[in-house]
Symmetry: D2
Subunit: 140 residues, 4 copies
C-alpha cells in the first residue's frame, strides 16, 4: 500500500463584505485584506485545535514581521468572500501563513504573513513543541 502525505489543513472562512470596509473608490479598502487574513488565521488555528487565545494564554504572541498582498480584483459591498488560509512554514521561532481570497470562483487576492514568536515582553521566544506540531499539520 502506498501512502502519500496527509492532506494539508486549510481553513475556509466566509465573510460578508461590510459597508465600513469600503472606501470612496467604491470597493473594499486594501487595508481590510490583512484583517480578513487574520480572521482566516483565527479559523485555521481553531481547526488545528490550537485557538490563538491559547497561544496568548500560554504567554506567547505571534507578532507580524512581514506582510504581502497581491490584489487582482476588487471586492465590493454585497459580496460574499471566502478566505482560504494555510500555514506555509512552521519553525521554532517563525511561522508563515498564506492566504487566498475568492468571490465564488474568482480569485480576488493572495497574500502572506510572516510571524515571529515572542513572549509578552515582545522578546523573541521559541514556540513549545506541541504548538509547533499542531501548526505544522497545516503545512503538510
Amino acid at each position: 500500500m502506498v501512502t502519500g502525505p496527509a492532506p494539508a489543513v486549510e481553513a475556509r472562512t466566509v465573510l460578508a463584505v461590510r459597508y465600513a470596509e469600503t472606501d470612496m473608490m467604491g470597493v473594499v479598502h486594501h487595508a481590510v485584506y490583512p484583517v480578513w487574513f487574520e480572521v482566516g488565521r483565527t479559523d485555521l488555528m481553531l481547526a488545528l485545535g490550537l485557538p490563538y487565545t491559547q497561544i496568548e494564554a500560554r504567554g506567547y504572541y505571534l507578532m507580524l514581521s512581514g506582510l504581502s498582498v497581491e490584489y487582482r480584483r476588487a471586492a465590493k459591498y454585497g459580496d460574499s468572500v471566502t478566505i482560504l488560509t494555510r500555514a506555509a512554514q512552521v519553525r521554532s521561532r517563525t511561522i508563515t501563513f498564506s492566504y487566498a481570497v475568492y468571490r465564488a470562483e474568482e480569485l480576488l487576492a493572495t497574500g502572506e504573513t510572516r510571524h515571529i514568536a515572542t513572549d509578552h515582553a515582545y522578546r523573541p521566544a521559541r514556540l513549545p513543541d506541541d504548538v509547533q506540531a499542531a501548526l505544522s499539520v497545516g503545512t503538510r
Copy 2:
C-alpha cells in the same frame, strides 16, 4: 475687582481626513467620529498634564459606557477637520467628555462620551483625587 470662573480648558485637535476613513458613499464613515473623539480626548488629557498613558500606568481604565454623535454635515477626503474636546463632567467614578467637529467655521458633528473608571480587571474603581482634580480643570 470681579473675577469669574477660570476659562474652560478645551483641546483643539486638527486632523487631515484619511482616504481609509471614507466609505463608498464618498464621505467619512460615521464610525470614524468616535475615533476622532478619542484623539481629542488624548489631546485634552495631555493639555491637562495627565496623559492617558499615565492613567493606565497607574492601574486604571476609562472605559466607555456611553456614546452619542449628532451628524450635521459630512466630512470628505481632503478636508482638514478640527475637534474641540472638553471634560463636561467629572465625578469620582464617571467622566463625560463632549466634542465638536468643525471644517473651518462649519460645524460637522457634535458628540459625547461617558466613561466609567475601572481597574485593569475591568471592575469599577474610584479615580484618585489628583486625577479627578486634573480632569476637573477641563470642566470649569
Copy 3:
C-alpha cells in the same frame, strides 16, 4: 379568531470578534459597535427583501444623522456576538434602527442609529413608498 399585529421582523446577525477589533485595553474597541450595527442593518434589509445595495442603486443614501450606544459589558477576542436589529421608526425622510448586542444570553450593548434619506448629491429626499413599506415591516 383573534389576530394581533404581525410579529416584528428582526435580523439576527452572528459575528466572531476579530483580533483587529480589540484595543490595548484587551477588549473590543467601542468604535467597532457602530460597524457591527451596520452589519445588522445590512442583514435586516436583506431579510426585508430590500438589500441596501438596491437603495443606493435607485439613487438614495441612508445617511447617519445620529448614533447612540450604551455599553454594558465588554466583548473580547474569541467571543461570538449576536446583533439583533430592528427598524424602530420609518418615516418618509427619516428612519431609526435599534440594536442589541449579546454574547449568548448576556446583553453587551444596545444602540440606535437615525438616518436621513438623501439623493446621491447628499440632498434630503423622500423615500419611495415601496421602500418605506418594506422597511416598515420591521417596525411592527
Copy 4:
C-alpha cells in the same frame, strides 16, 4: 559648476498613534501601517503639487495592486511616528511608492505599495503625461 540630479522629493508625515490603532497585544495593529502609508502618499502628492483628489477629479484611480510591509519594531499608543514617502517608480500605467516609518531615529517598519492607474470603471488606463511628470519628480 557640476550639478547632479535634483534631490528626491520625499514627504515627511508626523502622526500621533491613536488608541484605536492598538490591539490587545498592546501595540499598533499591523493593518494600520498601510493606512499610515496612504496618509504619506497623500502628503507626497500634495508636495508634488498634484493632490490625489485631483487625480480622481480627472477620472482616474490609483488602485492598489500590491502591498508589502516589513515590521521591525512595534509602535505604541503615545508614540509620535514619522512616515517618509517616496515615489520609487513611475510608469504610464503603474506607480510604486516606498515608505519608512520611524519613531525618532528608530526604524519601525518599511513598505511598498504598487498601484495601477484605472478609470472610474476600474479599467486600466494610461496616466496623462503631466501626472506622470509630476509624480516622477518624487523618484529622482
